[in-house]
Symmetry: C2
Subunit: 143 residues, 2 copies
């Protein structure tokens, strides 16, 4: 089970143990993402950081999210064109996306462990699996 970060201090510790310089901006981004309990876009996070006391530039939010992602400290989900949502949950899991509301929900992958996925060529290493199950409340418009 993943440790949930509940304070800036814990975020700082986590960064240190991974060998990432725990600057105040990085700590803040990581902490806020955990605190929000939701999936956030970079712009959401930028906005949310700057309505409080903190002041973090747009570029830093983007850079930091890319950095955290490259260290596996956050997850990224592509739902629509030109929109990445970030996810504090770094356990392997899948997503359910409501195409009407835009709501994105985590789904455990118990029934469908990544190992069960179709085989990949021998010369490649799997470095991630994205599963997005799209749902809606209505039937699609064209039958």
């Amino acid at each position: 089970m993943m440790k949930r970060i509940t304070s800036r201090l814990e975020a700082e510790e986590l960064l240190k143990t991974r060998g990432v310089q725990p600057t105040s901006q990085r700590v803040e981004v990581l902490y806020r993402l955990h605190a929000s309990q939701r999936h956030l876009a970079a712009e959401d996070l930028h906005e949310c950081l700057n309505e409080e006391f903190t002041r973090v530039s747009r570029a830093t939010v983007y850079n930091t999210l890319n950095l955290l992602k490259s260290y596996g400290l956050v997850g990224a989900v592509l739902v629509d064109a030109g929109r990445i949502l970030y996810d504090a949950n770094t356990e392997p899991h899948y997503h359910m996306y409501d195409v009407e509301t835009g709501e994105l929900t985590d789904i455990g992958c118990g029934v469908l462990p990544p190992e069960a996925l179709p085989g990949i060529p021998d010369d490649r290493l799997m470095c991630g699996v994205d599963v997005i199950i799209k749902v809606s409340k209505k039937r699609s418009e064209h039958h």
Copy 2:
């Protein structure tokens, strides 16, 4: 097994049978996507259409792809931020994405039928499943 379109005439027939007005632009877009045998971005398609005799505007390429997608005549895959790749293969299938080269390959979903996916709430209808298996040749940079 899906019928592969090999001529503009077949593209036109397909559009007609689905009740979509088979304009020359739509026929051309649908035909070219099948002819290319690859996954193409809207811009690729726009470029490729206009180096030949045909002349199709950017807006029409985007509109047409959205239209075809809403009728299930083409598939769309999100691989990177702000980049949709379109796919002539409308059979249920998954994708393998090489994060280094950007190469996107179809993978059958025989081993992993969509029905095997985690349950979704009763009040929602599943309207699609995206599975992207990310692979690379090297280990990721941060161990």
